[in-house]
């Protein structure tokens, strides 16, 4: 199992190696990976009716984070969609992107995405799920920005990453919170705790955080705008990420958490509202678009809205409908995207008003498109019909506000029907215009995937029993947590649901003939551009950018001493505040040793030398004064029982003075660079700082010190390390690893000096 999930990552690492193979001899070699995984996951299908299975691998057990994979109806549905549609997309891309110079990179990102997606839906541990969640955001960033030469492409990728990345962080907070409340990150462990979690005061927060995470990923209002932008990606990517898989990750999360967090008014109402607004807003939007991919993008957002809405309705039929709709939508929307890609690839345009009559040129593509459009519309004998029926039934059981909810859903469905027809039927009917006369039919590599999807749609639509007990019921149980069994039926008799279906179909088809896509309608949408969430997000981003630029300019002005003054001033303020706030300085004379005459002389010598080093204008004087400071220091070490230090300081000091003399002897005299006021200012700052350090030192000195560590080293120096010089024993035995690092630093310094001396920085001046 773990291999299955990680195979994509491993494969991604090897794509550059496979490049030659993949580009010339066997272009379809890449598709073997998702296909193999698809078959592998199909093998789990028969065991599904026995209930969920968890396969665990420990990862960071001490934090309760494990790579546990959970196979149940919901995760297997997604796993099969990811690998199944993945195989088709991989296969389709071999021709679609044929000859693209970065094909290997494309497949690398694609398989990386697939693996992250698999990890996301299969993870039982919420922490692991979060990590895969972020991985999908990152890999989709690369895929959206695949045509990275284009500015708009880069911008869309960044927007998508910004939104989904933000959502991911919010989700992380939610995961941590639920882990704190429930005491576990494991989903399986959280389900029985549903009541505890819902009664805890953090419940509102958990719900809010999870929902923001899910809404950003699944492009719910007001975070929806990244999805149309993401259509800049190559069409296979849009098919894969932005219709069938990644955008459904949010839905997956909500569906997954329904047994834990659901059946609560807070949960249901929020989903109901957000889903309702999104589905209607986006469906209406799609009717004003003329670009095929744009239409599909908005209809996808709308479909995602429907799913959120259904989860919000929360009745058992609604949840069943949501499960079915995930499958139906993935099948028909992927097909529509693939068809769009073919049209784009063969004709070079995606402008709906100009596209017609292509059915004669590419009959197989037309078949795929029409089937997908009909399924999307919910015509009987297609999978979409089943999902729509169950959906209506579920919403009718809502209880309050039923009429409004049903009305909005029906309207949305009508709009979606039109959008689906535009994408799947309109380009293929009518007379072929002259400018499209030279269009050639696509090769099988392109048309096989949508046709396969169409066949799946029809088969499952005609024989629902095929997937019913083996697949749909476990799916339903996974979402709802109940054990009821609803058998799927094609014919429910004459009832309200059927009436609604007929209204949808009739009104939709009528609208299709009445309302034509046109550029003038598209132009009308521009008026609302300035208030759309997208522009608000953008201006917010720009504002932030300006602010950070100001902030940077203010603090990073390029003058080292200004940074230094800022830091010092802050330090002085903080310590000063602390010292003023009631720290009294007292000196314990008991602790202080007596002063001898030569110590006073040494102190005076040192003080004078420091003064000279600071104030003199002559370099030589400064260096010599510095040397004296070092030697007096060395004498202090010698007097107060540190012979090792004294010797080292003595040698180092000598070497430093020699080095200074060697290097700086020939430099000119110090110039007076700063003006007097600045000197006085700096003088005051440094004196205050020195005083603070002195006071601080005294404070620390007066407080009792911990000597356990020193005592340990001193007492065990001979017993453990057979040395009597404790300092040396510490250096070469107790803390020898530090010494190794220290020598490495020394070597680096020496290499730095060596290269600096050999480096010719100014080739123009010294040719």
């Amino acid at each position: 199992m773990i291999t299955a999930v990680f195979l994509g990552f491993i494969f991604a690492a090897f794509t550059p190696v496979l490049r030659k193979l993949g580009q010339s001899v066997f272009p379809w070699v890449y598709s073997l990976l998702p296909l193999g995984l698809f078959v592998y996951f199909l093998g789990w299908l028969p065991g599904l009716s026995n209930g969920p299975q968890v396969v665990g691998y420990p990862w960071i057990p001490s934090y309760g984070i494990n790579l546990d994979f959970r196979i149940d109806g919901l995760s297997l549905l997604f796993a099969l969609l990811i690998t199944g549609i993945g195989s088709l997309v991989f296969f389709y891309s071999t021709y679609y992107l044929k000859g693209h110079p970065a094909l290997d990179r494309f497949y690398g990102f694609l398989s990386m995405f697939m693996a992250s997606m698999l990890g996301l839906v299969l993870s039982d541990n919420l922490m692991a799920m979060f990590i895969f969640w972020e991985l999908t955001s990152i890999s989709s960033f690369f895929l959206i920005g695949f045509n990275h030469e284009e500015k708009s492409s880069r911008k869309s990728a960044l927007t998508a990453l910004g939104i989904t990345g933000f959502g991911g962080l919010v989700l992380l907070a939610g995961v941590v919170l639920i882990g704190t409340v429930g005491g576990s990150f494991s989903f399986s462990a959280l389900v029985p705790l549903s009541e505890t979690i819902q009664n805890s005061p953090s419940y509102v927060w958990i719900v809010g955080l999870f929902m923001i995470g899910a809404f950003t990923k699944s492009a719910q209002f007001p975070f929806h705008f990244w999805l149309p932008g993401a259509m800049k990606a190559p069409t296979p990517v849009s098919t894969y990420l932005h219709s069938a898989t990644m955008v459904k990750a949010g839905i997956y999360l909500l569906a997954r958490m329904t047994p834990v967090l659901g059946a609560n008014p807070i949960w249901n109402d929020t989903l109901l509202w957000v889903g309702g607004i999104t589905m209607f807003y986006a469906a209406a939007h799609s009717l004003f678009r003329v670009d095929l991919k744009s239409i599909l993008a908005y209809s996808t957002i709308s479909a995602l809205g429907i799913l959120v809405f259904l989860l919000g309705v929360g009745t058992e039929k609604a949840l069943l409908g949501a499960g079915l709709f995930i499958l139906a939508h993935a099948l028909y929307k992927a097909a529509l995207f693939l068809v769009t890609g073919i049209i784009d690839h063969q004709t070079g345009t995606r402008n709906v008003p100009g596209l017609k009559g292509l059915g004669k040129v590419m009959p197989m593509v037309a078949f795929g498109g029409v089937v997908a459009a009909l399924s999307s519309a919910g015509f009987p004998l297609f999978l979409g019909f089943l999902s729509k029926e169950v959906m209506y039934e579920g919403v009718l059981a809502l209880g309050n506000l039923t009429i409004v909810a049903v009305a909005i859903l029906v309207l949305t469905k009508i709009f979606l029907l039109v959008a689906g027809f535009w994408a799947g039927i309109k380009p293929f009917v009518g007379h072929l215009p002259t400018e499209l006369a030279s269009v050639k039919g696509p090769p099988p590599t392109l048309w096989i995937p949508p046709v396969l999807l169409g066949i799946c749609t029809i088969i499952t639509g005609v024989y629902p029993a095929l997937i019913d007990s083996s697949f749909v019921q476990p799916l339903f149980h996974a979402i709802s947590g109940s054990n009821e069994i609803y058998t799927l039926k094609l014919w429910h008799g004459f009832n309200l649901v059927l009436l609604l279906s007929l209204i949808t179909l009739g009104a939709g088809v009528a609208l299709y003939f009445f309302w034509k896509p046109s550029d003038t309608k598209f132009a009308k949408t521009f008026r609302f551009e300035s208030t759309s969430p997208e522009s608000l997000f953008e201006s917010g981003g720009n504002l932030f950018l300006r602010f950070s630029r100001f902030w940077t300019d203010f603090f990073q002005n390029g003058y080292l001493r200004n940074y230094f003054i800022t830091i010092l001033a802050f330090l002085i303020l903080v310590t000063g505040y602390r010292l003023l706030g009631g720290v009294d300085i007292h000196i314990d004379w008991e602790q202080i040793s007596s002063v001898s005459f030569y110590e006073v002389i040494l102190t005076a010598m040192m003080a004078v030398s420091i003064g000279i080093a600071v104030l003199t204008h002559s370099r030589t004087m400064a260096i010599l004064a510095l040397g004296i400071v070092g030697f007096v220091n060395c004498l202090f070490f010698l007097f107060f029982s540190a012979p090792d230090l004294a010797m080292t300081q003595f040698s180092i000091d000598t070497l430093t003075v020699v080095l200074f003399m060697l290097v700086l002897f020939r430099l000119p005299k110090n110039k007076k660079l700063s003006s007097n006021p600045i000197r006085i200012r700096d003088g005051i700052i440094s004196l205050v700082f020195g005083a603070f350090i002195a006071i601080l030192t005294l404070e620390v000195f007066e407080s009792p010190s911990q000597t356990d560590v020193s005592t340990f080293h001193a007492e065990n120096a001979y017993l453990l390390a057979k040395g009597r010089n404790v300092v040396n024993v510490i250096l070469v035995d107790f803390r020898a690893s530090d010494t190794i690092v220290e020598t490495v630093v020394l070597v680096i310094a020496a290499i730095g000096v060596y290269t600096l001396m050999k480096l010719d920085l100014n080739p123009q001046k010294n040719p």
Partner: protein
Amino acid sequence: MKSLIFRTASDYLLPLLLLFSIFLLLRGHYEPGGGFVGGLVASMAFLIHSFAYGLTQTRKIIRVNPGYLMPVGLLLALVAGIAPWFVGLPFLTGLWFSEPLRFIGAVSSVLVFDIGVYLVVIGTTLTIFFSISESV
């Protein structure tokens, strides 16, 4: 600086200081001293010689490029660190020969480590000084 007195003095200083540096190195475990100080003293010895006779002469005496002493020293320290692994002890555990040797005292992996430090210090200091002297 190349006065006769200085040259004559450095003739005696070089061997004396080198001997002293090795003395410091070896006694480091029991008395004040050790690899750091020893290395510094040794490099000072070579520096004095180079001031008296010039860099080329000193390089001739050392024979190897002082830069090579750095990796050799690091390697020695590392070997001393890894050696305990072979007897199943953690990294950098001190290993001791049971019988002390004459003049040198007890020989251990710790001594090897200190010699490594000694060489690194000599290599570093001399590399720094020589590369500067050459470019001045």
